[in-house]
């Protein structure tokens, strides 16, 4: 049986090995490690805050947010789920995971939304970005774990970086989609009044794309959650570590408990962010209002929330 391999063989693995080990790591590791600093900063802030916040305050706050955004049912669910998480003894881990997720999502938004806008405004950029996103989503995250570790080290922040790589595509895609899908006649109307590109963006495109962007944020959040366990492989803590440890000890119970924690967290965050997108798109979705309410939800700024009469 003949095949091309009989004639030419490409030692791709060797090439990659020497590229990473002999070139990338020796020369750029310090640079890459320096890039972690902003992530570390944000993570520390969020993490400290959540671990400082008393469990009951957090629970009440999130329940109120859920009630305001996603309705009574979700609020009730959040309440019960959070109490349950506490009772099965995973509160601290949950908070760690939450900080990690929010940090990832924060950076995904900061990177992804402008990039999405850019792709929406230029077909050429889209042409370049799209295959990269495709590959980012199809390449198994295991493949980039080792390079990430080699370049960034192990721990929470490299875990977040892996998560960002994995969770970034949807927010870019949906920002792009949202802006491109803004009704043509509205764009035309804005143009007919002599809007500049920036005015168009701020006055028309972004507000109208907000729902879709929110959907992207929601998907990004979900993908980030799905990386929690894999991030634990490179030293991130939280619920992912609980699962990983449970697996290592053949402790199905612990692994399942950690898994349930992740699922509960996922459901709560999913419903809240989903309803955020839904509602604000229909009602009065001033961009700033929406971003603000997203923020107060994502940072779970409970002090301020619970201060208001419910």
């Amino acid at each position: 049986m003949i095949s091309p391999a009989d004639f030419v063989q490409i030692p791709l693995d060797d090439w990659v090995n020497s590229f990473v080990r002999d070139f990338l790591v020796p020369n750029f590791r310090p640079a890459f490690r320096a890039m972690q600093v902003p992530i570390t900063k944000v993570l520390e802030q969020i993490d400290t805050f959540f671990h400082w916040l008393p469990m009951l305050v957090f629970t009440v706050g999130l329940t109120l947010i859920a009630d305001r955004t996603a309705g009574r049912g979700v609020a009730l669910f959040s309440l019960v789920a959070l109490i349950f998480i506490d009772m099965i003894g995973l509160w601290a881990e949950t908070m760690t995971t939450l900080s990690m997720i929010l940090t990832s999502v924060f950076f995904c938004a900061v990177i992804g939304i402008p990039l999405g806008i850019w792709t929406a405004r230029s077909d050429r950029v889209l042409l370049v970005v799209r295959p990269i996103l495709d590959i980012m989503q199809t390449i198994p995250s295991f493949v980039y774990l080792v390079p990430i570790v080699m370049l960034f080290g192990v721990g929470m922040v490299p875990g977040i970086i892996a998560t960002i790589i994995f969770a970034l595509p949807p927010i870019i895609r949906l920002t792009n989609l949202g802006i491109r899908n803004v009704r043509g006649d509205l764009i035309e109307a804005a143009e007919a009044f002599g809007s500049t590109r920036w005015q168009m963006l701020w006055e028309v495109q972004l507000p109208l794309a907000l729902r879709t962007i929110m959907a992207g944020l929601n998907q990004t959040l979900m993908l980030a959650l799905s990386m929690v366990v894999i991030a634990a492989l490179i030293g991130a803590g939280g619920l992912g570590l609980t699962v990983y440890t449970g697996l290592g000890r053949l402790n199905v119970g612990a692994a399942t408990t950690g898994g349930i924690g992740i699922v509960l967290l996922a459901i709560i965050l999913d419903r809240i962010t989903q309803s955020l997108g839904d509602k604000k798109g229909v009602q009065t979705p001033s961009l700033w209002q929406s971003l603000r309410s997203l923020f107060s939800a994502s940072k779970a700024d409970v002090g301020a929330q619970s201060g208001k009469p419910a």
């Binding site: 570390t40 490179i234 290592g248 053949l250």
Partner: protein
């Protein structure tokens, strides 16, 4: 299995084949799924059990599977290593030296004020042992155990070493890590802060900062673990497992060959059959006994 096990797995496989068995595999499995699987008889046997450090998995297989014979009794070393340069620079002799601030700072890669130790994946036997050490020697505040996938953690250590940073890690031999980071040349064993006694100290470990060397771990047996029912039905295998063993030096040698690139399945096969050829006599003896038991 981790990749230190391929070689003797292959030797055993070829031996079984000479006994007339056809073997599937070897299958690659992480510790937890293996112990699970052998307990249920999905896998008949593996030859990568490390005891006593795998004692944590006993509940998973005890009753339906058992340890039988030994691949290499008492020859497997485990312990903590630091890179040679730092060991000399900071004069590190044992884990206790990591209480010193300058050492801590030098070994601190993640900036949390503690020295980073590449430990074991959560759940493995060694993870528990390391944890015990750190508690026992009151080092929790000084040393940060990286509990991640072992290869990921080591990737970090290797990369850090490559970048000229000090590293501290746990490993065991035989293992590819010591080919990556050569014992005595790149890295040296350090001790646990305990007085050397007859039981806990190993003599003649050249690459250790001290001799005798208190490595903190008793030498382990590398043992086959097999499904009991399978053994009962296949006395020849049982006998072979009981009698056979492979010298550690040979395992070391092969491991280093593997790390030099000869790591394809074909390479390993060849290394195994070469070894069998070289030790034909001994092997024939084992086989004869085994065939005898089968009668």
């Amino acid at each position: 299995a981790w990749d230190t096990g391929w070689f003797h797995s292959e030797i055993y496989k070829q031996l079984f084949e000479e006994l007339g068995y056809s073997i599937d595999g070897p299958t690659t499995l992480d510790n937890p799924p293996f112990y699970q699987a052998v307990g249920y008889g999905d896998v008949d046997l593996w030859v990568n059990g490390w005891f006593p450090i795998h004692d944590t998995y006993r509940p998973a297989f005890e009753g339906s599977a058992e340890i039988i014979g030994a691949v290499a009794a008492g020859g497997a070393l485990q312990g903590y290593l630091v890179d040679k340069a730092s060991a000399e620079k900071f004069n590190i002799k044992s884990l206790a030296d990591f209480k010193r601030d300058d050492v801590k700072e030098a070994f601190d890669r993640d900036g949390d004020g503690r020295a980073d130790l590449v430990a074991c994946p959560p759940g493995w036997g060694c993870e528990v042992a390391i944890d015990e050490h750190l508690t026992k020697y009151d080092l929790k505040g000084d040393i940060n155990e990286i509990k991640a996938s072992y290869s990921a953690s080591m990737a970090d250590a290797v990369a850090a070493y490559g970048a000229g940073e000090p590293i501290l890690f746990y490993t065991w031999t035989p293992n590819w890590t010591v080919n990556e980071l050569k014992l005595g040349k790149d890295v040296v064993w350090i001790q646990v802060p305990e007085e050397a006694t007859e039981e806990n100290a190993a003599k003649g470990v050249a690459s250790c900062v001290a001799d005798p060397c208190v490595m903190g771990f008793a030498a382990n047996d590398i043992v086959p673990v097999a499904n009991s029912k399978f053994l009962k039905e296949n006395p020849a295998v049982a006998t072979l497992l009981k009698t056979a063993s492979i010298p550690l030096e040979d395992i070391f040698a092969q491991n280093s060959a593997m790390n030099d690139g000869a790591d394809s399945p074909e390479d390993i096969k060849k290394q195994a059959s070469d070894w069998i050829k070289a030790n034909r006599e001994m092997v024939d003896g084992w086989l004869a006994t085994a065939r005898g038991a089968a009668q």
